[in-house]
């Protein structure tokens, strides 16, 4: 074997790492391109189907006619691509080790362009996420990466696509971590950032540096204005709940219809959308143009309220009837309108100085996103990234938190999870995603500990030990532990006639396995295996100070209890 061969053979085990890093950038580029292409195709199709100033007949006919075609495609070829794409991506990540069939990104692109382009009130971000994740999964499989690597590529592709679709790289990363992975501390942070940045560079090099919205300059005119934002948060929470309940209710209705109607369901929704478009064409498609108008304070109070209500109805109808499109953009649309309405009212009636209605519309976008999508961190950073203004953070957090809490109270399941459950898919909850290392010794220990006084003889100890099921005992006191003596050691000492021997002399001099309260579960289990079945938990503030004891039984007892973490802490009076 030549030198290069030897070198390469030695490097082969690290191949996956190097390929993974390269693929991160490449996936960022490709997912970004797919998102840009998706956006452009939607615009072209919409222009082709509706023209510059569509007549009423055209507005009425286009959605149902195109939905007949998409209904056929969705029912026959691409059943996995109905709806947003975010829940499907989560399913692929959590349940299928990131495996997404090749037809999914293709089908999502095709049907998404047709559905959103034909006037359905849906967003482009959700489909972009599914397309980006699908591309990432495909590439991972082509490179024959391990299943765990392919799984890791899915959120990377999703973040990249979202970054390009919404032009907010930081919140795209947060969305991938918070919503798709479900863990803000995920080790994929670096790769996700890399892909997201690659995607946004590609997006800006094609579409230019223009922001998605012309965001108004934000300022808090008076501290009392926070009350206005609190009102917006409450209203946003209520609108979020209404939206989620209506969407889930109508979707359940469509799901319960006979299977043979599946092809025609999108067209049924299309008929309703056609009627809506005749009267309120502003709710067509993504609708960011009107979000921009709300942000610049150009819409009157009546228009804001009407657009909020009609968009809610139109999105519920479009999504429930099984079309392909997301709820990301509609939630921002609803938020901008609701926020603009609250802002206009505050401006008119508040007894203190208030900002422009555009500022409320901006915060409203975050509020509805927090209430509907239920990704609070993403919602805050998304608006922050749009404004690049620190001043907005406090009102934004106040309003988002209220909306989030209200929405969570009345609709405990997040919308994406609830949609999946309607399809009998149950994603693992936060508890399932918790790594084993999240369990600490303090969570597993018993605080009520019996000690053998060090002055006791083996005989005295035996009289206590023989009736006990414990495999060993701690010798000393809570403040000063001398060591551990096992049931077997005492029994052997009695059998060999050393009953009057001090218990201290039976203990081994080499030390004994122990843990500290902060040690993770895997260390606890390892040391418990090395011990005689009893593992003292010693304080970090004093090596001989005992905080508790762990036995096999205590560990099992903790895991037997449902919600054991909190209960264990409560039982042991731990903070």
């Amino acid at each position: 074997m030549n030198r290069i061969g030897i070198f390469l053979t030695q490097r082969l085990p690290y191949r996956e790492n190097q390929v993974f890093l390269t693929l991160t950038v490449l996936i960022g580029v490709l997912a970004g391109l797919s998102a840009v292409l998706f956006t452009l195709c939607i615009q072209l199709v919409q222009r082709f189907l509706f023209g510059a100033a569509p007549a009423h007949l055209r507005l009425f006919l286009v959605p149902p006619l195109v939905s007949l075609l998409t209904g056929y495609l969705l029912a026959k070829f691409f059943p996995e691509v109905r709806g947003s794409g975010v829940p499907q991506t989560e399913t692929a990540y959590h349940l299928h080790q990131g495996n997404i069939p090749a037809r999914v990104p293709l089908g999502k692109f095709l049907t998404g362009v047709l559905c959103v382009g034909s006037g359905h009130s849906m967003g482009r971000e959700g489909p972009s996420v599914q397309i980006g994740a699908g591309i990432a999964s495909l590439i991972g499989k082509w490179f024959r990466l391990s299943p765990s690597r392919v799984q890791n590529l899915v959120p990377i592709g999703a973040a990249a696509a979202l970054s390009a679709a919404f032009n907010t790289p930081v919140s795209a990363v947060l969305f991938a971590l918070e919503e798709i992975i479900g863990d803000m501390n995920a080790a994929l942070l670096g790769s996700t950032v890399l892909a997201s940045v690659s995607a946004v560079i590609i997006e800006r090099s094609i579409l230019g540096n223009d922001a998605l919205f012309r965001v108004p300059a934000y300022h808090l005119a008076d501290p009392a204005e926070l009350a206005g934002y609190a009102i917006l948060g409450i209203l946003g929470g209520i609108v979020s709940v209404i939206f989620c309940k209506a969407l889930l209710g109508l979707r359940l209705f469509f799901l319960r219809l006979p299977k043979k109607t599946e092809i025609f369901q999108p067209a049924m929704g299309g008929v309703l959308i056609g009627i809506i478009l005749i009267f309120v064409p502003q709710v067509m498609g993504v609708g960011y143009e009107y979000v921009g108008q709300a942000l610049s304070g150009s819409l009157a109070l009546g228009a804001l309220i009407v657009l909020c209500l009609v968009k809610l109805v139109a999105t519920v109808v479009s999504y429930s009837s099984g079309n392909a499109g997301g709820i990301f953009a509609p939630s921002l649309f609803l938020g901008a309108m609701a926020g603009g309405a609250v802002g206009t009212l505050m401006h008119r009636f508040a007894p203190f100085p208030t900002g422009d209605s555009g500022a409320y519309a901006l915060v409203g976008m975050g509020v509805l996103f927090a209430g509907i999508i239920r990704a609070p961190m993403t919602s805050v950073f998304m608006i922050f990234e749009l404004t690049q203004d620190y001043q907005i953070l406090v009102p934004l957090m106040v309003a988002n938190l209220l909306s989030f809490l209200i929405s969570k109270h009345f609709q405990p399941k997040p919308i994406y999870h609830a949609l999946l459950e309607q399809n009998h898919i149950y994603l693992p909850g936060p508890e399932s995603r918790l790594p084993a290392s999240a369990w600490r010794a303090r969570d597993l220990m018993l605080c009520d500990v019996d000690f053998i006084p060090p002055t006791n003889t083996a005989e005295q100890t035996w009289s206590f030990a023989r009736n006990s099921a414990q495999p060993g005992f701690l010798v000393g006191s809570k403040e000063l532990l001398h060591g551990v003596v096992t049931h077997d050691q005492i029994e052997k000492a009695i059998a060999s006639g050393k009953g009057e021997t001090a218990i201290l002399s039976l203990m081994t001099a080499e030390g004994w396995p122990h843990v500290h309260p902060d040690h993770p579960l895997d260390v606890v289990l390892e040391r418990l295996g090395q011990s005689a079945g009893i593992l003292p938990v010693l304080s970090r503030h004093g090596f001989h100070k005992v905080e508790g004891v762990i036995t096999r039984e205590s560990v099992l007892q903790v895991f037997d209890q449902s919600g054991s973490d909190s209960k264990m802490r409560a039982a042991n009076n731990l903070p």
Binding site: L12, L40, L44, Q293, D356
Partner: protein, 396 residues
């Protein structure tokens, strides 16, 4: 699919026993990785180029549509349909975000539609990206002025004046903006600031600029007849015989007490002036001053004394009409008046200049008392006061 065999040992390539097998296996994996990466890179480049082309097509279409909407907006604006113009400009601005003039036009139309708050929001966004843009600051100033926020409006007007104008348009644009700003300042009782802006305006004004006429009128409104006269004279040098400039110069000379020149200007302005009746009225007043001034040039002594006596007679009569007024000086004034009249009747040979001055001063004081105490005023009374003022200034 059958696994590849090693040509050295004949075993499957995955076999770890043979070093050649292992090496071949490594190279195979790496070759495959590199091929796939090259393929994907190629796909990415092609997709990038294709997408960029599509984006360019889309952008061009949007730009054409935006330009079309912009044109429609301007037409609607000219037709007075401001509301429809706003919609067109908004559509243009949404379709093509690269052209700030669309947003500027939108803001301007919103201002005309009295939607000042909305216009300000649009303009603030533009201003954030380029705070020195003079055109943005100007429209922002107008919109802010519409909201009644004088302080901010002044700030934006000043930003517009000292901001960046498009290449080559700087001076031409600044002049009307400054004039607009001066009018705004005068409307909001900021006279001192208005004068300083007006001085700055004329300082930078080219000699042949027609704005000298406007500047003169503004100086007149700001009670600065001296600078006004300079500007009107410059306007007359640029366009001799301009009736408006002549009328302005006449008015400025009148305010300065230079009634001889005022008469010349006003007579020259004559009937061609747009302010014909005003000019005629002013000319009548000027004539009255010149005809009643005892110190006027080319008068004989007796004419001077006659004028003085007539003036004193008139002032005395006015004061007597106003006799019910309990003014402590009235009796003294009447007494002094009689004394000067007597003195003037005795001095037949040559005019006593001091007597004339004293008589003019006395006439002035009598008319002032009449005016302040009884609010009695007429053209002749006004002329006598002006004669008095003129000679007071000359004596100083």
């Amino acid at each position: 699919m059958p696994e590849d065999l090693c040509p050295s040992c004949g075993n499957p390539l995955s076999s770890e026993a043979c070093p050649q097998c292992a090496e071949r296996q490594v190279f195979k994996v790496i070759r495959r990785d590199i091929s796939l990466l090259a393929l994907l890179t190629g796909v990415a480049i092609l997709t990038f180029l294709g997408t960029r082309q599509l984006a360019a097509v889309n952008r061009n279409f949007n730009q054409r549509m935006a330009a079309d909407e912009y044109r429609k907006g301007e037409q609607k604006l000219q037709a007075g349909n401001i509301h429809a113009a706003v919609d067109s400009f908004r559509s243009a601005a949404v379709r093509d975000q690269q052209r700030p003039e669309y947003l500027l036009a939108l803001a301007g139309a919103l201002t005309l539609d009295s939607r000042n708050a909305e216009a300000i929001q649009v303009l603030q966004t533009l201003r954030d990206s380029n705070p020195q843009d003079a055109r943005v600051n100007l429209v922002l100033a107008r919109a802010t002025a519409g909201t009644g926020n004088v302080t901010d409006a002044i700030k934006y007007y000043q930003n517009a004046l000292y901001g960046d104008w498009p290449e080559g348009e700087s001076l031409q644009q600044r002049i009307p903006v400054r004039l607009e700003f001066i009018h705004y300042l005068m409307d909001h009782a900021r006279q001192e600031l208005a004068i300083s802006e007006l001085v700055a305006l004329v300082y930078n004004l080219p000699g042949r600029d027609p704005t000298h006429l406007d500047a003169g009128s503004l100086f007149l409104k700001l009670n600065d007849p001296s600078r006004a006269l300079e500007q009107f004279k410059q306007a007359l040098r640029n366009q001799p015989g301009d009736p408006d400039a002549l009328a302005g110069a006449g008015r400025a000379a009148f305010m300065l007490g230079d009634y001889e020149n005022a008469k010349i200007y006003l007579q020259a302005a004559g009937s061609t002036s747009a302010q014909q009746s005003d000019v005629a009225s002013l000319l009548k007043r000027t004539d009255m001053i010149l005809e009643n001034d005892p110190m006027a040039a080319h008068l004989s002594s007796s004419e001077r004394e006659t004028r003085l006596r007539q003036n004193l007679d008139y002032a005395t009569a006015q004061l007597r009409i106003c006799g019910n007024v309990n003014h402590e000086n009235v009796a003294n004034l009447l007494q002094e008046g009689e004394a000067i009249k007597t003195q003037s009747q005795k001095a037949h040979t040559r005019s006593d200049i001091d007597m004339l001055r004293n008589g003019i001063e006395l006439t002035y004081e009598m008319e002032q008392v009449t005016r302040s105490a009884c609010r009695l005023t007429d053209d002749l009374g006004d002329a006598l006061i002006r004669i008095g003022l003129r000679h007071r200034a000359a004596a100083r």
